[in-house]
Every structure is written in structure tokens, then in C-alpha cells.
């Protein structure tokens, strides 16, 4: 059976809007265009109803109370609001924040800015499987620690952190726990109470909702979290985030949550099967390929593989009818290979050869088989072109070579 090209397999970057989500959004662009903050006419009430309905749908997905959902422009803003908001609000209590090295830049760069303001930040290392060591966390906590910020699941390697255990430790010590939930929410079960989460960043477009809308979960009880606002204005969202609400986006966000909740058990199983089919297909036909990060504690739709001796960007170029991404330096603005893979202890040589596959709702078995075939074909072709592969086959130990890299 012929597959339709190009194939999209980069669902950690973004996802298409589900047609059911779009349908729910459409009336809010035209007939129901009101400002949710307009309290004195029906246009406003209709918009507000759409927003409150969505707030409830989002809260239900993560086991929260609707009042604990603050709408934002996306998860980058949510991470900023959570971390800066707690840091500024609780400055008198302490100035120490704990995070870890494979966080998204929205967390890492926010922490770096706070360091410039005089806060102290501990960046926990990760183990070879991509997870933090809970003993490292316990040791890092000081009387000055006010916040722990750890992602639920990583955007490159899909590795899931021991969130419930971290939540327990934070609670014992009376420290707030912020979670970047972007890659996990809507994909795997997330429950803010079971997981002991006090704040969590969510993004709609990572699970078939629209771009430009996200939320921050902010716990109201046991403990109540207060935030200093990062955006000042009309006092929307209980003063935590001013600005007119993106009503159509929020309605779509809510619908995406409702669909995710209903379909998650079946969908995650289906994607896990596709992911394993992709992995098994590649591993059966190629030698010297390596999965980066834990295969057990991993999002069901993620596969991150290093293809030794084949540079990632050249591989992407060869499979240009399949949209995936690479940890290679050449695909990044900085010319540095992936800091996430580096943190795992993956050598820079292998980091340059990594490809991230992110499966999604609309991928099919045929697409997975086509992708496997193309990847195998291009890797074999590029290895024929690779001096490193030739040297390795001659028995030369590449790590012992004197490469000049000044």
C-alpha cells in the first residue's frame, strides 16, 4: 500500500490540530467572539462559558480543581510564571532552586536569569538512563530551598522522571514542586494529587490542540501556592496572568484534553506498538544502533536512536520525505550537539548521529514500515560514504585516534 508523503513523525515538536478540536473552536472566532472578561452582555457570557467549560476539561485531565488552572500563551510562559512567580513571591523564605540538566530551555534559561538576580540554582545531573537520582535531590535540599522544578518527560528522549517520588520528597521538606508537563500531559496519565505536583506547565499544541495557548496549574490547597505575576495589567486569571483570554484557543485546548482523556488508554497502547515496531525493524536490519535513554521509563510514542558513523543532518537529508529531528550540532543554531544526550553521557560523536522519532495520533503502520525501510537504506548508503565506518570495520579504535580539534 502506498503511503502519503511527506510523513510527519516529529510529534514532540508539535502536533496537528485534531479536526474535532478545530470544530469546537470555530464558532468562537466568528459568532461567539466576545471577550470573556465582558461581564455585562451575552457576548461576554458566552465566551466566558466556553472558557470555564475548557478550564473544567483541563482540570479533569490532570485531577485538579478548575480554579487551579491559569491560562497562558503556552508552556514557555507557564514555566516562566511558575519559577519566577514562586522565586519572587517567596524571596524572604529562601533563594535556592533545584532543577536538573536535561530540562527544556524554558526552565533552564529562566533559572539562569534568576541566578543573575541573586538566586542560587542547583542543576542535578542525570543518570545514564536519563533520570535523576533521588538521593542527589535529597542531598541538594537546603533550608533555603523554595522550589524544585523537574520535567515530567523529556522532549528529546521521552524519558519519564520519578515524579511521584520527587513530589513526596518536596512535600516532606515543605518545598514547592513545579513540573514541566508539556510532553506528558495528554499522553500518559498525570494526576497532580497522586504525583504531589504544586505547579505544572501544560501546552495545548503538543496534544492536538492549537498553538499559542497553554496553562499553568497552581495548587490552591495543601499547600496553597501564591505567585508574583510576570505580566501586569487588567488582573485576569485571578491577577496571576493579565491579558485578554484567547477564547478560541482555550476552547480548543479544553476539547483536546477531553479527547486525550477518553482515548489515552487505547492510543498510548497503539503508539507503543508502532514505536516498538519501528525500533525492532531498525535494529533487525542495522548494526551499531543505540537507543538513547531508558526504554522502560519512557513515553510510548518516543524513540531516540544513534546511528553510529552517520551524521544526523545528512541522515535527515536522505529521508527528507519523513519529518523527524536530530540531536546533531548541524541542526541546531549553536552548532553544539544535544545537551540532553551529552548529559546522559552519550559521547559527542554519537550525539551527532542521533535521530528523534515522535509518533502521533495519525501515524499508521504503513508509515512506520516505510520509515524503517528508508532509514535503513539511507544509513547503509551513508555508512558506505563514512570514513569512520570504514575505519571501525578495519578494527581501528576511533576513540584512540589523535583527532586534531583545535
Amino acid at each position: 500500500m502506498a503511503v502519503k508523503l511527506p510523513i510527519y513523525m516529529d510529534h514532540h515538536a508539535t502536533t496537528p490540530v485534531d479536526p474535532r478540536v478545530l470544530e469546537a473552536m470555530l464558532p468562537y472566532f466568528t459568532n461567539q467572539f466576545g471577550n470573556a472578561a465582558s461581564r455585562n452582555h451575552s457576548f461576554g457570557w458566552t465566551a466566558e462559558e466556553g472558557v470555564e467549560n475548557a478550564r473544567a476539561q483541563i482540570a479533569t485531565l490532570i485531577g485538579a480543581n478548575p480554579k487551579e488552572i491559569i491560562f497562558t500563551s503556552g508552556a514557555t510562559e507557564s514555566d516562566n510564571l511558575a519559577i519566577k512567580g514562586v522565586a519572587w513571591m517567596y524571596r524572604e523564605k529562601g533563594n535556592h532552586i533545584i532543577t536538573q540538566v536535561t530540562e527544556h530551555k524554558a526552565v533552564l534559561d529562566t533559572c539562569k536569569r534568576l541566578e543573575k538576580e541573586g538566586y542560587e540554582v542547583t542543576y542535578l545531573p542525570v543518570q545514564k538512563d536519563g533520570r535523576i537520582d533521588l538521593d542527589d535531590l535529597r542531598r541538594a535540599i537546603t533550608p533555603k530551598t523554595i522550589l524544585v522544578s523537574i520535567m515530567y518527560a523529556n522532549n528529546e528522549i521521552g524519558v519519564i522522571q520519578p515524579i511521584a517520588e520527587i513530589g513526596k520528597i518536596a512535600k516532606e521538606k515543605g518545598i514547592f514542586f513545579h513540573v514541566d508537563g508539556v510532553q506528558a500531559v495528554g499522553k500518559i496519565p498525570v494526576d497532580v494529587n497522586k504525583d504531589g505536583i504544586d505547579l505544572m506547565a501544560i501546552s495545548a499544541h503538543k496534544f492536538y490542540g492549537p498553538k499559542g495557548v497553554g496553562a499553568l496549574y497552581v495548587r490552591r490547597k495543601n499547600p496553597r501556592v501564591q505567585l508574583a505575576a510576570t505580566i501586569d495589567g487588567g488582573g485576569h486569571e485571578r491577577g496571576m496572568r493579565s491579558g485578554t483570554l484567547n477564547v478560541p484557543g482555550i476552547v480548543g485546548f479544553g476539547k483536546a484534553c477531553e479527547i486525550a482523556q477518553k482515548e489515552m488508554p487505547e492510543e498510548s497502547e497503539r503508539l507503543r506498538r508502532l514505536r516498538d515496531r519501528l525500533k525492532d525493524g531498525i535494529f533487525a536490519k542495522l548494526d551499531e544502533v543505540f537507543v538513547n535513554g531508558s526504554l522502560i521509563h519512557r513515553l510510548p510514542h518516543n524513540l531516540n536512536v544513534s546511528f553510529a558513523y552517520v551524521e544526523g543532518e545528512s541522515l535527515l537529508m536522505g529521508i527528507n520525505d519523513i519529518a523527524v529531528s536530530s540531536g546533531s550540532a548541524c541542526t541546531s543554531a549553536t552548532l553544539e550537539p544535544s545537551y540532553v544526550l551529552k548529559a546522559l553521557g552519550v559521547g559527542e560523536d554519537l550525539a551527532h548521529t542521533s535521530i528523534r522519532f515522535g509518533l502521533g495520533r495519525f501515524n499508521t503502520e504503513e508509515e512506520v514500515d516505510y520509515t524503517t525501510e528508508r532509514v535503513v537504506e539511507v544509513v547503509n548508503r551513508l555508512r558506505e560514504l563514512s570514513p569512520l565506518y570504514e575505519m571501525a570495520k578495519e578494527g581501528i579504535d576511533l576513540s584512540k585516534m589523535q583527532w586534531k580539534t583545535e
Binding site: 545528512s314 541542526t331 563514512s386 583527532w403 586534531k404
Partner: protein, 141 residues
């Protein structure tokens, strides 16, 4: 990132892929770059000791499409040239021919280094000095 048509053409149909016997006294080998930097080029030339003409050139490259294209182009260009003419090839010539964007200029620099390294390896052999391991050739990045 969009690639120029010429880069795509060299990537899809690389010229002169392969290896020459590196112990042959008339073969010069240049191996430049490093795996940790994401680029390694091996460029080999068979040079006629009487005429100094490069009669054969082969390459293998680990690197992005632009690195593959730069080294493929280098083999095309040096073939039939004298050693002196080959040494006159500048990385900027490669940049122009392949329309490389600024972030890919290092690929062309590496290709120029590879040409120089291969010729210098050949000269060393010819002058009767003990052959060195090719990986000590000058590299960039």
C-alpha cells in the same frame, strides 16, 4: 534549512566515493576533522610523480550534506590538476560553487584542509620521510 541544488546533487550523487591503497607511495591521504565535531573527511589522491598531475581522487566523509558536497566537489576539482594547481583551491571557491550559507563555511574550510593534508602526506612519502599516521593531518573546527 534549504540546501542549494548543487549541494543536493552532490549529496545524492557523490562523485569519486571510495578509498585508494594508503600505503601506495604515489597515494596521498588527508584525514581531517573529528567525530566529536560532527565532521570527518578523508581525501585521497593518486599523483603521478613525474608530471605531478593528480590522476585519481577519492573521498569518504562523515558529516552533513554540505560537508559531503564540499569533499565530493574537491575530488572533482583536483582530478587532472597538478599539485600546485590543487593547492591553489580556496575554500571560498567551494563556498561560491555550492552557495553555502555562513553556518556551513567550515565544511569548505575542512575540504581545503583535506586537499592540503593529502598533498602534504604524498610529499612526505616522496621525500622518503617515514610515513605518519594520516590522522595527524591539520584539522579544523
Amino acid at each position: 534549512m534549504a540546501y542549494s541544488d548543487k549541494v543536493v546533487d552532490h549529496y545524492e550523487h557523490p562523485r569519486n566515493v571510495g578509498s585508494l591503497p594508503k600505503d601506495d607511495p604515489n597515494v596521498g591521504t588527508g584525514l581531517v576533522g573529528a567525530p566529536e565535531c560532527g565532521d570527518v573527511m578523508k581525501l585521497q589522491m593518486r599523483i603521478n610523480p613525474q608530471t605531478q598531475v593528480i590522476e585519481e581522487a577519492k573521498f569518504k566523509t562523515f558529516g552533513c550534506g554540505s560537508a559531503i558536497a564540499s569533499s565530493s566537489l574537491a575530488t572533482e576539482w583536483v582530478k587532472g590538476k597538478t599539485v600546485e594547481q590543487a593547492l591553489a583551491i580556496k575554500n571560498t571557491d567551494i563556498v561560491r560553487e555550492l552557495s553555502l550559507p555562513p553556518v556551513k563555511i567550515h565544511c569548505s574550510v575542512l575540504a581545503e584542509d583535506a586537499i592540503k593534508a593529502a598533498i602534504s602526506d604524498w610529499k612526505k612519502k616522496k621525500d622518503g620521510k617515514p610515513a605518519e599516521a594520516p590522522a595527524t593531518a591539520p584539522a579544523n573546527s
